[in-house]
Amino acid sequence: MSDVVVVDYGAGNTRSVCASLAHLGRTSEVTSTPEKITRAPYVILPGVGSARSAMHHLNETGAVAALRQRFADGHQILGICLGMQLALDTSEEDGGVEGIGLVPGIVTRLVADRVPRLGWAIVEPWGDAYYFAHSFAAHSNDVVATSEGVAAALERGSFLGVQFHPEKSGEAGLEFLEQCLSRA
């Protein structure tokens, strides 16, 4: 069994996440098979594509039910960017999309000077800079870190979600991923 299951939802680039995991000496498998999601030592819900197609794919493959089961069992899940947003109740993206509902909260279109919000920004209270690329933002009572007033991380039970891309955030990102994996 791989150290980490990276949940496949049929769009885009999961290569970078797997490359970062390999860099940290972890094996990974990209899959949407429910049994693998519930049983893996660690699960990452990556951040690529659009909310509607992601949820469609996750529902169709049974990954949504598997993620809910895993969360109920208290096993670790890391959501990255869209992967964090999907864990909330609903998103405004694509005309309104129902999320997985692990964490109470909503996702709305980002209001900022420039959208998409692209680039490196300091995350407080952690102090390091991480790479962001997003047009939507999370709102939840479970926010544990912010960046320029935007939710940068949220945590509830065994789910940790980050708006930034640790797999694209250089040394700071690798260090963050290592910390996450050490909780498995």
Binding site: A19, S50, V115, Y131, A133, S135, H165, G170, E171
Partner: protein, 250 residues
């Protein structure tokens, strides 16, 4: 606003870096994978790989380069050159690139911008504009079109582009500073971020560009001295522009 970004641009043809990159500190100066890793370690905030050959024969070679770069890089990178369809974009992104850059294909077929943005999100679509005398140019800046620069930037943004890569043809390769007026005009007209390109010859030039743009594309200034990137970052910061704090490898 996120921190200003420094983005080295590598011109690649047939799997090799072209244009004068100095060999200092590199084992193989022509290897885009080694150079990408080197710039990433030196403090690049992102990279752009431009496939300047982009012939049908070159596709497989470039795809292999993208895959290898994605495996070594822990910063985002954009791939441009020869992106003419959603399938081209899909191949590039699914090989590991974070974003694609569209140029003449977007001009010929603006709906391509929307099609790629719908599939991968706006943040994955950069529209590159080669501008001179108020109009957009194609064919590496050689041919002037009748499309005006600022309205085209606005249209690209409305159609779903997530960033504009704006190159001043007049300044490109001259190393005498960016076209600040052009950059301001474009950035003031849109609400997506803008990468200024063309003219970086000194830290001071980059600082000036970063006052009117969200990022600066740099080429010969780093290629002539790949070891100098950390020093360049330091100089830019000492001139008052805040860049991302680098974290030392543990």
């Amino acid at each position: 606003m996120p921190l200003a970004r420094l983005i080295p641009c590598l011109d690649v043809a047939n799997g090799r870096v072209v244009k004068g990159v100095s060999f200092v500190g590199l084992r193989d100066v022509g290897d885009p994978v080694e150079l990408a890793g080197f710039y990433s370690d030196g403090g690049a905030d992102e990279l752009v790989l431009l496939d300047i050959a982009a012939t049908p024969d070159d596709v497989a070679t470039m795809t292999s380069v993208i895959t290898k770069v994605a495996d070594v890089l822990e910063i985002p990178f954009t791939v441009g050159g020869g992106v003419r369809s959603v399938d081209d974009a899909a191949r590039i992104i699914e090989s590991g690139a974070d974003r694609v850059s569209l140029n003449s294909a977007a001009l010929a077929n603006p709906s391509l911008i929307t099609a790629i943005a719908d599939r991968y999100g706006s943040q994955a679509v950069v529209v590159a504009i080669d501008a001179g005398d108020g109009v957009v140019h194609t064919h590496g800046g050689r041919i002037a079109t009748s499309t005006e620069t600022v309205p085209w930037a606005m249209e690209a943004s409305e159609r779903g582009a997530g960033e504009i890569l704006l190159t001043s043809i007049r300044q490109d390769g001259k190393r005498t500073g960016f076209d600040l007026e052009l950059t301001s005009q474009v950035r003031d007209a849109i609400s997506i971020p803008v990468i200024a390109s063309g003219g970086a010859g000194s830290a001071q030039h980059i600082v000036e560009a970063l006052r009117v743009a969200d990022a600066a594309l740099i080429a010969s200034i780093v290629h002539e001295n790949p070891m100098g990137l950390p020093g360049l970052r330091h100089e830019i910061e000492s001139l008052g522009t805040k860049l991302r704090p680098m974290k030392e490898r543990a």
